[in-house]
């Protein structure tokens, strides 16, 4: 739910690609970007949910279109970027929100090479591919803002080693791009969410066997018997990430690049790792 009237036009006239935008955090980001005036290209693997995000944006008076994309496939990423440029003329904002999460076993010793590769291919290589193909377009336009959605897992002793490694890769990729692409007017930053209520998270809380308080508890359980060590009460919502993603994508963050912005109710800092 939005708590602040966002219609201030912070992304007026901008074109944004948001990946993983069919559900959850990605959908919230796509909707808020559109509400702030951006034309949004919704990219994800599932047509039904991607088109639903577009429909919601259009119903709210925004401009969006869907391009079915598996970001781990370079050809599909190339086609995504071409479609965005063809539709809207350029790209000003790239938000990499896609991820596979909670697909690995509870023990590293049971992790298969296939699951490791899938995790890396989607979470890390997918971010490489989108940045690789969007940056030349941003260079041409003389400006760009990249916002990559990472995870608290990238910063602490996570229960998901492959996921954590993939998100740590995203952090390092983003910082390197921040340094490399600054001369073209392109900024790149990371958001590390934790304890954000989404359907995926609720699903994992019901089914997972992970030895980790972050994943195995729902907001309702946390409210009745605190398990996760965090300082702000309650869990976050997708809009909390969307607000941060809007700030970092806009000119308000013109002097911010290579930074990590946790949106996590203080969870990262209660960790001593």
């Amino acid at each position: 739910m939005t708590v602040v009237d966002v219609e201030v036009g912070r992304l007026e006239g901008r074109t944004a690609i948001v990946t993983g935008a069919g559900v959850g955090i990605g959908r919230a980001i796509a909707e808020m970007y559109a509400a702030e005036g951006a034309k949004v290209v919704v990219a994800c693997r599932t047509r039904e949910t991607g088109e639903e995000t577009v429909a919601r944006i259009v119903a709210a008076g925004g401009d969006a279109r869907f391009v079915q994309t598996d970001v781990s496939d370079e050809g599909q990423v190339r086609a995504l970027v071409e479609a965005a440029v063809s539709a809207y003329g350029g790209i000003d904002v790239l938000c990499n929100n896609h991820a596979v999460y909670g697909i690995e076993p509870a023990e590293l010793t049971e992790l298969t090479e296939d699951v490791w590769d899938l995790t890396m291919d989607v979470n890390a290589k997918g971010v490489f591919f989108t940045m690789k193909h969007v940056i030349p377009v941003m260079r041409e336009g003389g400006r760009g803002a990249i916002v990559n959605i990472s995870s608290i897992a990238s910063l602490v002793k996570s229960a998901l080693p492959a996921y954590a490694a993939s998100k740590a890769a995203v952090n390092a990729l983003t910082k390197a791009v921040a340094a490399q692409a600054a001369e073209y007017g392109i900024r790149a930053n990371v958001i590390t969410p934790s304890t954000i209520e989404t359907d995926r998270r609720s699903e994992l809380a019901r089914t997972s066997t992970y030895k980790n308080d972050f994943i195995a508890v729902t907001a309702a359980e946390q409210a009745s018997k605190p398990i996760v060590s965090k300082v702000l009460p309650g869990f976050g919502e997708p809009d909390d990430i969307a607000y941060a993603a809007t700030f970092l994508a806009s000119d308000e963050a013109a002097y911010i690049t290579g930074a990590i912005l946790p949106v996590d109710g203080g969870t990262t800092r209660t960790r001593t790792d």
């Binding site: 708590v3 602040v4 009237d5 966002v6 219609e7 201030v8 036009g9 921040a178 340094a179 600054a182 001369e183 900024r187 965090k230 300082v231 702000l232 009460p233 976050g236 919502e237 909390d240 607000y243 941060a244 700030f247 308000e252 963050a253 013109a254 002097y255 911010i256 690049t257 290579g258 930074a259 912005l261 946790p262 949106v263 996590d264 109710g265 203080g266 990262t268 800092r269 209660t270």
Partner: protein
């Protein structure tokens, strides 16, 4: 701009008579906040208030030495008088004059003065504002620390004081999170302000700048004010204990520029 992201809120900004603080006060007022402009110089505070009012905003000026408990208490009282509540406290007041490039040449009085304003000042303002925020069960404290607190920094007194602000930020986030009070810090890199210009004019640093940056310009007060606005508004309601560098993507401190100084 249609939305006012601080509509209905009362915000205290210390050191708002000039530089970053003045920029923050303006930004907040533009977004609908009633701003308490606090500064060591009453004239400077009132000048900022006048500018804000001319632009249609609401502000009151308060003379305050943040390192003094009585002044911090009076500042909090003034805020409650102006708006009936204190939603945001921006601890921006800070000094660096008297600091040196070699610790053993640093005068103890200068060390103490820098700590008094930069660190004890944050303690005093937080101490006297937190009761109101506790009663409201809501509040956002934004501490303006410095990039000096993150990497190595040439001036030890300033670095120590700002490092203290960062640690204080994390501890306060821990202490007050359960009450709905958020505490975050911004670490500015080089920013174009009267204070930083005075340091450059003193000859302490070369004109080339002391840090390699990704974004090759100095920051502006507006760059910092925008980050302060994000942390002050309810948009960041799930954010606490963050330490955010607003520093042009700083890469490295040029050690060779300090050799022999």
């Amino acid at each position: 701009m249609a939305g006012k992201r601080l509509a209905g809120k009362t915000a205290i900004v210390t050191g708002a008579g000039s530089g970053i603080g003045r920029g923050i006060a303006h930004r907040f007022a533009a977004h609908g906040a009633t701003v308490v402009v606090a500064d060591l110089s009453e004239d400077a505070a009132l000048a900022t208030v006048g500018e804000i009012e001319e632009l249609g905003g609401v502000a009151v000026g308060v003379r305050a030495d943040v390192s003094q408990a009585d002044d911090a208490a009076a500042m909090a009282e003034a805020a409650l008088g102006a708006g009936g509540r204190i939603d945001v406290l921006v601890n921006n007041a800070g000094i660096s004059f008297g600091d040196t490039l070699k610790l053993h040449e640093l005068d103890e009085a200068a060390w103490q003065r820098i700590l008094n304003v930069n660190l004890t000042g944050v303690f005093q303002c937080c101490k006297h504002v937190l009761p109101a925020m506790l009663a409201q069960e809501a509040g956002s404290i934004v501490n303006i620390a410095s990039a000096a607190a993150i990497g190595m920094a040439p001036r030890a007194g300033y670095a120590a004081s700002k490092g203290g602000v960062v640690a204080l930020t994390r501890s306060l986030a821990f202490q007050y999170g359960e009450y709905g009070i958020r505490v975050n810090a911004i670490c500015p890199g080089p920013v174009e302000t009267p204070m930083s210009n005075a340091v450059r004019a003193s000859g302490m640093y070369d004109d080339d700048g002391i840090v390699d940056l990704s974004i090759k310009r100095r920051g502006t007060p507006e760059d910092i004010a925008n980050a302060a606005l994000y942390f002050a508004s309810d948009e960041s309601r799930y954010v606490t204990s963050d330490i955010l560098p607003v520093d042009g993507g700083a890469l490295r401190l040029r050690a060779e520029r300090f050799r022999g100084r």
